[in-house]
Assembly symmetry: C2
Homo-oligomer: 404 residues x 2
Amino acid sequence: MKIIKGGVCAAKGFKATGVHCGIRNNKSKKDLSLIVSETLATACAVYTTNLVKGAPLIVTKNHIANGKAQAVICNSGNANTCNADGIEIAEKMSELCADALSVAPSDIVVASTGVIGQPLNIEPIANGIPELVKNLSANGSDAAAEGIMTTDTVKKDIAVEFTVGGKICKIGGIAKGSGMIHPNMATMLVFITTDAAISQEMLQKALSSDIKNTFNMVSVDGDTSTNDMVTVLANGMAGNKEITEDGEDFNEFMKALNTVTVSLCRMIAGDGEGATKLLECKVSGAKDILTAKTVAKSVICSSLLKAAMFGADANWGRVLCAIGYSGADVDVNKIDVSFKSNKGEICVCINGAGIEFSEDKAKEILLEKEIEILIDLKDGDACSTAWGCDLTYEYVKINGDYRT
Amino acid sequence: MKIIKGGVCAAKGFKATGVHCGIRNNKSKKDLSLIVSETLATACAVYTTNLVKGAPLIVTKNHIANGKAQAVICNSGNANTCNADGIEIAEKMSELCADALSVAPSDIVVASTGVIGQPLNIEPIANGIPELVKNLSANGSDAAAEGIMTTDTVKKDIAVEFTVGGKICKIGGIAKGSGMIHPNMATMLVFITTDAAISQEMLQKALSSDIKNTFNMVSVDGDTSTNDMVTVLANGMAGNKEITEDGEDFNEFMKALNTVTVSLCRMIAGDGEGATKLLECKVSGAKDILTAKTVAKSVICSSLLKAAMFGADANWGRVLCAIGYSGADVDVNKIDVSFKSNKGEICVCINGAGIEFSEDKAKEILLEKEIEILIDLKDGDACSTAWGCDLTYEYVKINGDYRT
């Protein structure tokens, strides 16, 4: 398996683009993206568990109930959520897109991201669709990635090449993240495309099992979004024998998918709203996987620890504190904690109690941009990783006045 | 019932004080407090549910297992938690205090608050105790309240007078809060004293039932502390017939206790680390009390909503979002949301969808220091209130470099 260029257009038969259509006032900011497969693709998705669901999610769920889709349209700048006419607008968006592409409205995945509770005007979208379709290109992944960004500061894309039964397959994706990121089942907007041939059942199985260890282990601010989803379109153009059951081929596909999703998780966490650092909490020695996940997620979500990491402060007591209230059944007197980065690794706590360590060395390690928080529960073999970011002035600034 | 002065010394037979003994470097900051009853008092407590528990909590739990205590000693600046010698130090602190007061060590409630995982030196405490005992005074509540403060900006005390069987009784308390506040069963340091005569069983019943609607409904940052507890000492010196069962007298006591605890909750939330505003989330129309509490707590804990309140931004979509991911079983299409303060009340969402409202009026309301977030689920009669604060630059600043 190797990492390749091309993002959401890396797989054969996919084109994409993004334009500024006028949902946002800032004309230099793209706000409408389109991804299209040459042929009708097998589709699957996972959705937020928030009871308040964006209208586009409800429409998308209906559209891909038959396991098929051919295109994804997504706007930024407005979530189309908690609006009385939300469903109607999301349906209209699908219809306009379908007409322009000469496909059925029910083959469109529709998504929106941005502020909640402000009516979404269909006009700029209607006006933007012709240009969007005209601009579609096999080099359009970057533009599509830009069009779905909200407070993201960098576009997020990745693609890998892998082999199934001797055939070269590709899988790639784009994502937007930033704030309101605390997935439960699935959140954030992630669009993944692949030319591998795989049955709908196995595609959904792959995605549903992968997200448990990837997107569901990311938290920026503990807020589970109303709008976000992860979709995969698989158009089969790689020509491999269709993957229809567990086995070597499916495992290869899972590995490739996981490479894409872990990369996007790291990008989303590292570009969390206001973040200056990517935090990776790696728990080992847990008695079972649930314990490992519960601990990793609790630590990565602690506001106090996140603020300490912003200050490059080796305040490991907050790690212990977050483990203690996580609800996981652990022996707090066995826990070891270390911090690690490109500058080295330092152990700060053994058997639940502090040890002497060099504050200077710890500071040097924690001043880096990517920090690992290593926790050994010394109680078994299960492991888990969670991704997050530090809590900064900028997070408060962004969210203190997001709407204006 | 009326509010009176005197805080933790309002009740007959209680003296208190606080001194600077040298745990902190800043000599103008008191760091050791003492509260003493003239006679052995009935005692009860509730403790944090964090699995990582401060050594003082473990010692206190043992000491008041017999339902009796006569004094409370508490230091700030160091939590005495996650230290190999923690229990030993907490026992030593009790012994030194008991000796100076000529009472039994097992009649001492011992508490610590501050940074986790740094050994607590007993020397400054040993040196400070003689002065502490000498300074004890019936006017010492303020000094004691100051001695337990960490990043609190104001001292927190309250007392009320009430009548049981014709006898005037008093109950009062002091508290410290600020950060790592997200009680579960009980956190924060709260010391309450009363001269009412009440059996240990009824005292514990009163406290355990009260905290479910008071301290357990406060959140500053979602982090459940390792160290904090709420204790009540009742010395019976008011001379009322001892309260030993449910009934009018017990109800009067509960009302007085609740007045004290709600006041302290509001003070703790309003003085949360970095806070500029007290947020009160009042949920009504819930189908049951658990639903009401779950919704209120979820909204008050949302980082996104807290940041919006800092910016006086009527971003009600974040209220809906937090209700949606709370786990409560609600019909999101029925929910009404209003914001209220001294400047008036404004409805922003009806039946789960936004309505037109004056942004200017909303801004005026949200620029106040005390904000009510009113949520009507229109699904029943149950109500609940949760208290919190906004998320500010200052929170990040305080916690980015707390240890140094």
